[in-house]
């Protein structure tokens, strides 16, 4: 460590605890309390990255979240490495490893820097203009652009860190722990309000914490001493929660805010382990006080981007807080008083200040007089017209400004320096205010956007509200807070405040140079490398809207969202276009205020907690039998049960054959089940299904089709009348929740007069389905005293029964076309009933089958699956299910839509069967169907919706939707695939047992 860059300063930095870290592979040392940036500066390292487009050397420019240049890759572990972090915000810890981004092979020798010499050829929107054509060259361009532009590397392994989410409710949330925030939080807490104070730094106090200057005193103490006492008093409030290292990321409507708390980022590597790294606070505050302060603006002049050019206030923080000298011969360049605070601080710490270059004519404020008294040289009415030095600034060129400020005059002075502090005035941090929907107003006097109107219960106080002088900050913050909270805290009423007043203000957005504008490099957006010239070019090319100029030049579109550059971009646009800045408006600041990690956004919702997994009561049995599972919504459903290395096709063929030849058993527990009770249920069912329900007898089941009001098939299922006023409806597995919501909606809003109550009972019952010619024999062993004769228990009927004294419901219904029974029993008994059925069926080779076989079996029968053969554009008529539409019913959901001009078109897509010319050829689901192959392009007439090889028919079968398909029965069509064309014939949708004999086999 270059010791001569540290001053002895024990106020904030523990200079006894040395910390070692690595930057670009080199081991360096810093102290506890340093940021990576302050430690690098203490090691005389300014050059930390390369710019995006020209690969110009760039150095640390700020000390906070607005940093555009010092963007580093943190950590090497492939699961934990983090790109695009700001060295100015990273607290130094033992074991920290960081490296420069956007440079190759190294930050000191960068091949992309050749772009800098070609820069006249890389104007605004260079990439848009150059890489437009030919389009198929994009693959090449992209490779080239990405390699040379690469903004950091994302981790390649899953994040090992733990993240957390928590809710927080409070009366008052104060954002920002500077002087205004501290006073506001204390006022709220004192008045018994449940208060939270947040700050993104590791300590409260803001810039006042290290303000030790004769020109800023409160009650005869330096302001830093006064604020320290105030901070101490905060600890006595039990109703005040202080959260440091917590960055407010987003401010949404109804005072809903998101904040990220860093819990372990500052800890040594070995202390981080097994702790929650970051926490996302979801805050609902009754009142919000924004006290986020202001940030210093840069100045826009030729070559204003060299390493060693730093915001003046940051130089002050580095010397006063971190005890780090940013240089040994520092020059300052300003348009306002604040650079003089820096000059005095440097002077007091023994750093020689070359001079202050001030664009103003002359000013006599308290602080300027003090600087003059200390012998600091000032170049009045002057500007820096150029800087020199490639990897680090080594001199500046100073010239006088002409009277109209548009040119420079007189002799050029060359001043040697190793650091230049710049100050272009202050920009209130109104980001959160605008995020919350607040409207801004423009103050011409010092060119700032200020909070104006807001719909929410919130205020902005302090410098984010445009108060920049100590006495005004205190006076106005106290007044605003008292009014806002409707309290009267007079703690701060009679403070004696000394505060230097800025008397003269002057601003030039783009400073003139002795070199013509086209040949200069006045950078606006340091991270995205756009200059004032780019913005002017965009205006010449006809762009007018600020949002368009921003996108065209990419000004303000880097990871810092243009925190430093936006005001100057607006200023230059307004000036060039001859409009007022207030009328031009500003671009939108979007959340998050600073980037968030993906980890903190998802919190604990990773891995097995990513989504809910629903398992049936028989799930473990399927697992034991080595079933493969498929996801159906949140459900895990047994897909097929492979035996002895069978693949899926082999297993499904075996299962399908067994179910038709003897017996199969299916877990149907996932089907949606809605218990419906009330005296108007039959009327209700009449209105929601297309067919008639009034005559359904007790103990009988009926299949129903449900439409949307637009006439399109929505869901289907069987409903059973259990008793006079008690029904059980089943829905598709995926549609269960939506069907219940839809039915509730109609009941509550359209038909509140109906006496009907709906209860979801999907999880309450397990469902065992046995099918096949031997199913009756098996069931008779499981429930011996149930009369299973066709007369007593015909198809589409239901019986209450007992299995080992446990009540169950048995339905004789079929989705396979086979003789089939479904046993519904309380979930906790479902697995044992399943096992009972399986044992009873062993003699008949009962075969468990999964969803794939179920789909195959129903396709043989031409039964649809809502959601697979329908897609929200199919009417029952399109499905050739005209038989299920009641002609007698006056109305049901969707009825009127069935004869709209569009739904009665004869050439709609209709469901048909397909048989391939080669019976062994299995079509791909989703494949397109065409009528001709000799002409291209040819019209696509439809597509395959379901396709299987049927072992029971020994041929390939498919369902498809084809335009005008109903009338095309028997016609040949073609399914063009990548390397062949498959010939098919349109058939009926029912492939097996058209007479339904098997139901009663």
């Amino acid at each position: 460590m270059s010791k001569n860059l540290r001053i002895t300063n024990n106020r904030f930095i523990d200079q006894t605890s040395k910390i070692s870290f690595k930057f670009d592979g080199k081991t360096l040392y810093g102290f506890k309390g340093d940021t990576l940036a302050s430690a690098l500066l203490a090691n005389n390292i300014h050059l930390v990255g390369r710019s995006f487009k020209y690969h110009r050397p760039r150095g640390i420019m700020t000390c906070g979240s607005e940093e555009p240049n010092a963007i580093v890759q943190l950590g090497k572990d492939p699961s934990m490495t983090e790109p695009n972090t700001r060295a100015t915000e990273i607290e130094l810890y033992e074991g920290l490893e960081a490296s420069s981004q956007n440079c190759w092979p190294s930050v000191n020798f960068d091949i992309g820097a050749i772009n800098n010499f070609f820069s006249p050829l890389i104007p605004a929107a260079f990439y848009y203009k150059t890489f437009m054509w030919p389009a198929n060259f994009w693959k090449l361009y992209e490779y080239f652009i990405r390699k040379s532009a690469g903004l950091g590397k994302s981790p390649s392994q899953p994040d090992k860190d733990i993240y957390d989410h928590r809710y927080l409710h409070c009366d008052v949330l104060v954002v920002g722990g500077g002087i205004s925030g501290i006073m506001a939080a204390k006022t709220a807490a004192k008045n018994n309000l449940n208060t939270v104070l947040m700050d993104d730094k590791n300590t409260l106090g803001g810039t006042t914490l290290f303000q030790q200057n004769e020109c800023f005193k409160i009650n005869n103490s330096y302001s830093n001493e006064w604020i320290k006492k105030e901070i101490k008093t905060l600890n006595s409030f039990k109703n005040l929660t202080i959260k440091t290292r917590t960055s407010l990321a987003a401010y949404h409507s109804y005072n809903y805010l998101l904040a990220r708390e860093n819990l372990t980022d500052h800890l040594d590597l070995n202390e981080k382990k097994d702790k929650i790294r970051q926490r996302l606070w979801k805050i609902r505050a009754k009142k919000v006080i924004i006290a986020t302060g202001a940030m210093e603006r840069p100045l826009i002049f030729n070559n204003n981007d060299r390493p060693g050019i730093i915001l003046s206030s940051s130089i002050k923080k580095y010397i006063d807080y971190y005890g780090v000298k940013c240089g040994k011969k520092i020059s300052l360049f300003t348009n306002n008083d604040s650079a003089y605070e820096t000059a005095i601080s440097l002077n007091n710490s023994g750093v020689s200040v070359n001079s202050v270059v001030d664009i103003r004519d002359k000013t006599n404020s308290l602080i300027v007089k003090q600087a003059e008294k200390l012998g600091i040289k000032i170049h009045w009415k002057s500007s820096v017209v150029n800087t020199n030095g490639y990897k680090k600034i080594n001199s500046i060129e100073i010239m006088k400004l002409s009277d109209d400020n548009t040119a420079t005059v007189g002799k050029k002075i060359i001043e040697e320096c190793d650091c230049l502090g710049i100050s272009g005035g202050w920009t209130p941090r109104v980001h959160l205010f605008t995020q919350s929907g607040g409207k801004l107003k423009f103050r011409d006097e010092d060119n700032v956007f200020l909070p104006d109107k807001s719909e929410l219960d919130q205020i902005s106080i302090g410098s984010c509200n445009g108060d920049f002088e100590l006495d005004e900050v205190i006076k106005n913050s106290v007044k605003l807070t008292n009014n806002f909270l409707k309290v009267n805290n007079n703690d701060y009423e009679n403070l004696e405040i000394i505060s230097s007043k800025e008397i003269d203000k002057k601003n030039i957005w783009l400073l003139p140079s002795d070199i013509p504008l086209g040949k200069t490099k006045p950078f606006l957006d340091f991270q995205n490398d756009s200059t004032a010239n780019d913005v002017k070019l965009a205006l010449r090319e006809g762009f007018k809207s600020i949002e368009h100029v921003k996108r065209y030049t990419t000004t303000g579109m880097a990871t810092d969202q243009g925190k430093l550059s936006n005001m100057h971009a607006l200023g230059i646009i307004a000036e060039t276009a001859g409009v007022k800045m207030g009328e031009l408006g500003t671009t939108t600041f979007r959340p998050p205020y600073t980037p968030l990690t993906f980890g903190v956004i998802v919190g604990r919702n990773v891995g097995e907690f990513f989504d809910i997994t629903r398992k049936t009561p028989m799930h473990d049995w399927h697992v034991d039998k080595k079933a493969e599972f498929e996801n159906v919504g949140q459900w895990k459903r047994a897909w097929y049960y492979p035996i002895d290395n069978e693949n899926m096709h082999e297993a499904v063929q075996r299962e399908s054959k067994a179910a038709r030849d003897s017996a199969g058993i299916l877990d149907a527990s996932t089907l949606g089940k809605i218990d419906i009770q009330g005296s108007d249920v039959s009327e209700f069912l009449n209105r929601v299904y297309t067919n008639a329900w009034s005559k359904l007898e007790i103990g009988k089941c009926r299949y129903g089709l449900m439409l949307n009001e637009d006439g399109m098939v929505y869901d289907d299922g069987v409903t059973t009348r259990l008793s006079e006023n008690h029904y059980l409806m089943t829905t598709t597995t995926g549609g269960a929740a939506n069907v219940l919501s839809k039915l509730e909606d109609y009941l509550q809003t359209e038909w509140p007069e109906l006496d009907v109550y709906l209860t979801s009972v999907t999880d309450h019952y397990g469902t065992v389905s046995i099918c096949g010619p031997n199913s009756k024999k098996i069931l008779s062993k499981v429930i011996p005293d149930l009369d299973l004769s066709d007369k007593e228990f015909p198809h589409m009927s239901f019986k209450n029964a007992l299995i080992d004294n446990i009540k169950c419901r048995v339905m004789r219904i079929s989705f396979t076309g086979e003789l089939s029974y479904e046993i519904n029993i309380q979930s906790s008994y479902a697995k044992s009933v399943w096992e009972k059925c399986f044992d009873a069926g062993k003699k008949f080779n009962i075969t468990p089958y999964g969803t794939e076989t179920m789909h195959l079996l129903r396709a043989e029968k031409g039964f649809i699956i809502a959601g697979q053969d329908t897609d929200g554009t199919m009417t029952p008529v399109d499905l050739q299910m005209d038989w299920i539409i009641s002609k007698k019913k006056y109305d049901f959901i969707g009825k009127r839509s069935l004869y709209r001009s569009d739904t009665i078109r004869e050439d709609r897509k209709q469901l048909v069967g397909l048989l391939t010319e080669d019976p062994n050829e299995i079509l791909e689901e989703g494949a397109q169907i065409v009528g001709k192959t000799n002409k291209q392009p040819t019209e696509m007439l439809g597509h395959v919706t379901s396709s299987y090889f049927s072992p029971n028919l020994n041929k390939s079968i498919a369902l498809a939707v084809i335009r005008n398909g109903k009338k095309l029965k028997g016609q040949k069509m073609f399914v063009p695939m990548k390397n062949k064309t498959i010939s098919v014939t349109i058939t009926d949708t029912v492939f097996l047992d058209k007479e339904n004999k098997r139901l009663n086999a």
Partner: protein, 91 residues
Amino acid sequence: MFLINCPYCGERDQSEFSAGGEAHIVRPKQPTELSDNQWAEFLFMRKNIKGVQFERWNHSHGCRKWFNMVRDTSNDKIHAVYKMGEKPPIK
């Protein structure tokens, strides 16, 4: 993220609710009597205005009740909530 005052449960976070489109569109009592245009008016046409709008909301992760809301779509301000079947408290 709104804070919604469910008429049955009180103030709850927006994440408990789902929006159900424009309110006070009554399903015609006799759809069969309507022309294609009249039916299409009911089925498809919605105002989608910028400003004060009457909307249906469902407390889907709460009491499951449907209710109406008067909301200004330009600033998300909720002016009123009221039960199904009740007259809007604001015009």
